[in-house]
Amino acid sequence: MTTSSGSLLITGARLADGTRTDLYISNGVLADQASAPAGVERIDADGLLALPGLVDLHTHLRQPGREDAETVASGTAAAARGGYTCVHAMANTDPVTDTAEAAEYVQALGERDGHCQVRVVGAVTKGLGGAGLAELGLMAASSAGIRVFSDDGRCVDDSLVMRRALTYVKSFDGVIAQHSQDPRLAGPGACCHESEYSGRLGLPGWPSQAESVIVARDVQLAELTGSRLHVCHVSTAESVDVVRWAKARGIRVTAEVTPHHLLLDTPLVSNFDTTFKVNPPLRTAEHLEAVREGLADGTIDIVGTDHAPHARQDKDHPFDVALPGMLGLEQALAVVVDVMVNTGRMDWPTLVERMSAAPARIGRVVGQGRPLVVGEPANLVLVDPSARGVVDGAASASRARNNPYHGRDLPDPVVATIWKGGVTYRR
Amino acid sequence: MADPASDTPTSGISPRVVVDGPELARSLARMAHQILEANRGADDLVLLGIPTRGVFLARRLAALIADIEGRPVRIGELDITMYRDDLRANPTRSVGRTAIPGRIDDAVVVLVDDVLFSGRTITAAIDALRDLGRPRAVRLAVLVDRGHRELPIAADHVGRTIQTAADERVQVRLSELDGDDAVTIGRTGGKR
């Protein structure tokens, strides 16, 4: 839980733009450090960066329904370790979050147990069935204040339903976040990027076009309706091209990429290790290059973790049957630093935009992704840009252990995470 | 039936020839006569050579017997790899050829091998024969008996009895395989 201490003075930190500064936190906001009392608790941030707390638009907290895999408490603890001060809990829980009551239940859980802010995502269709719209308006008007709607896990593949949903959420500034997967081109068994790998391994293929045809359809529906569309976990070059085209036309589309689609590629499934089974699947080099470029140039607006914890027994099945998904909250920043910042593709201010400011904007989250100036809420993360280490999956705060980075040498950037002025994680 | 001629233990660095080509030929000729004498002829006789060199020795004995009797004698090969008692303790062994000429029920099978040492090879051969039929009798003909038995096995027909130290290496060379005929004893190698 947060230790909402009274005051905290962080000294010698550098902001993303390089400015060296001290940060004084009092009563949950950034305050004028002149008013800092003499014996105030200090953190020496010499050599560290102070960034706005990260905001994840795509998290699976599994509660209610699969508390054996993850709970709001454990998932947000993992988020805090990863430098996150806000996550969006996806709706594919059990029961599905498709009513105001269900939404308020998750909201309350977040307030009671969360180690970061929990925003609730509402389902687009009832029970994620893809047919009838869920009570989108009631969910938006509830105390959960839902603005992001998603059937993630499933694709809203019926074009008419998608059109209606986009139109409907316009009135309350909602956004439909789509899991783009054409169910005929990539059916329920599809589990490996359709490529020489799926051919050789005998695994049902998941062609890149199964994603991009939906993205192409959806951006045109977004244009037709004038509504906001968010494309979850873009994984293919084709989808990046479609989004780029759509943005050039002024269509209100935003896109996200996961850390694993930035770093991990198809050959990793050659041993049939279900840790690397994910939906959409890990792609080949040319797709990794395309999404990296897209994230760098802003075609892809944000990094979304798609943190998908699974109980051991759900992964200990044959590859085509095992549940897809991998952990992501704790190593997200490390991966993005490694792939994008350390290679010079992105600078720190852009990282802040992609991992904090833009996700908060898309989710219409007040008080998150804000610049670190006096008067703003004290949601920040202290980052050591040069620390590295070998990832130990067993040391995770998550209940689950399906961590694809286990054993990998990666940056280890998160030193401390502060939410509403309280330290939620300290290395 | 053992040959009374014997040699004292040797010590030396490189293998020494203790039986040369002509001596080897004489031993085989005597063994052929002994086999026929013990069996009162070549009726019902089946010579089975144990790979690798037992096979060549069996062929030579068969030729000698055929010369003496004026008619061919049945001859075959019996690979005993699958019946070895040390199969598990060693890396996977490749398997040699087994070719049994017809049925061996009621036949007199003479197993032929080059060197008799611990007796385990012959024990395995007897186990193998059990799964192939029921011979009337099983006899053993070896070119060299070097002692150090670990099982109660005795040869019926022996070319040479040679006293050896357990860690000496006795090798039979045959021209079909090795270029010349000889029996050598060397220092290295321990058990065969």
Partner: protein, 312 residues
């Protein structure tokens, strides 16, 4: 050898050793006492998550003729629906002290996954659409016999045409890998909808022209076309398939002198193979079946004859 999961696990020496020992094993079939003591005291569990009377019986006989204690477990239906994960199912059996599992499963990669979980050795008897290494071995054994019988020993330079539903076939994947090791030259023949993605990276020529490939083939291996594939939209009808890709009587007559026919079975007479071809003098189909036991005995021997490679 620790496991036999893929045909690519075998180098030339190991593959040749398996084929050579299989020759000796085949003799056991004609002995009065069909027994060799080599695997006495070893326990082999055949766990089949997918029906297969032929392969399972073949492995059962192979184990028993080598004096191993062979147990058949039919786990069809023991899947996610029953709640027990594959790993738990296998670990439970493994804990009983099994020396080797022979596993067939409808999911690609299952044998590899199991090999990572258990102490016992694992033989892949067919995993989904991925591999079937013992089938490739017995195919090679039958081909070798045939080549020797026509006085043309050796795989080097021999053209082996594999025809049919390559997309869904584990037999073709294992055969391509094994023949690469043995030196045979595989040619793949299939309609475009039945080609695996990336087949052009497999190192073999790929063609839709069966007749051209047929004219040069020393071995014509016909793969089964499942009727469900017609339903799945891969091919319009059986007769159109047979016309383009079936081993018809006309094609039988057009085969090279000395060429032979293989089929992993079971055959769909009249679809991928005409009755005339199935029963032709140069059909090795029954030889393949007989070879199955001997080759599987040889594989079991190579895996379990020695303690080498066993986990302590």
């Amino acid at each position: 050898m620790r496991h036999l999961l893929s045909a690519s696990d075998l180098d030339l020496a190991s593959a040749t050793s398996i084929l050579d020992v299989a020759e000796e094993m085949q003799q056991v079939q004609s002995r009065p006492v069909k027994k060799l003591p080599a695997l006495r005291g070893r326990t082999v569990v055949n766990i089949f998550f997918e029906d297969s009377t032929r392969t399972r019986t073949s492995f059962e006989i192979a184990g028993k003729w080598l004096s191993a204690d062979t147990i058949n477990v039919s786990a069809k239906g023991s899947s996610v629906s029953k709640g027990e994960s594959l790993r738990d199912t296998m670990l439970t059996l493994d804990a009983m002290g099994v020396d080797a599992f022979v596993i067939r499963h409808p999911s690609s990669g299952a044998a590899h996954q199991v090999a990572g979980w258990v102490q016992a050795k694992v033989i892949n008897a067919g995993d989904g659409q991925h591999e079937h290494p013992t089938q490739a071995l017995l195919d090679a054994y039958s081909m070798r016999h045939h080549f020797r019988s026509i006085g043309s020993d050796g795989f080097a330079g021999k053209k082996i045409a594999i025809v049919g539903d390559l997309l869904h076939s584990r037999v073709v994947r294992s055969n391509v890998l094994l023949q690469r090791t043995l030196g045979g030259r595989v040619v793949l023949v299939a309609p475009p909808t039945l080609l695996p993605t990336g087949v052009e990276t497999w190192g073999c020529p790929v063609t839709g022209d069966f007749d051209a490939a047929l004219a040069e083939a020393d071995i014509v291996m016909m793969l089964r076309v499942q009727r469900e594939r017609m339903a799945g939209g891969f091919f319009p009808s059986e007769r159109e398939y047979a016309e383009g890709y079936g081993l018809t009587e006309a094609r039988l007559a057009a085969m090279k002198p000395g060429a032979a026919i293989c089929h992993p079975g079971p055959m769909n007479r009249g679809v991928e193979i005409s009755s005339a071809a199935a029963d032709a003098a140069n059909s090795l189909v029954l030889d393949q079946v007989a070879a199955g036991v001997a080759v599987r005995m040889s594989v079991l021997y190579h895996l379990l004859g020695s303690d080498e490679g066993a986990k302590q």
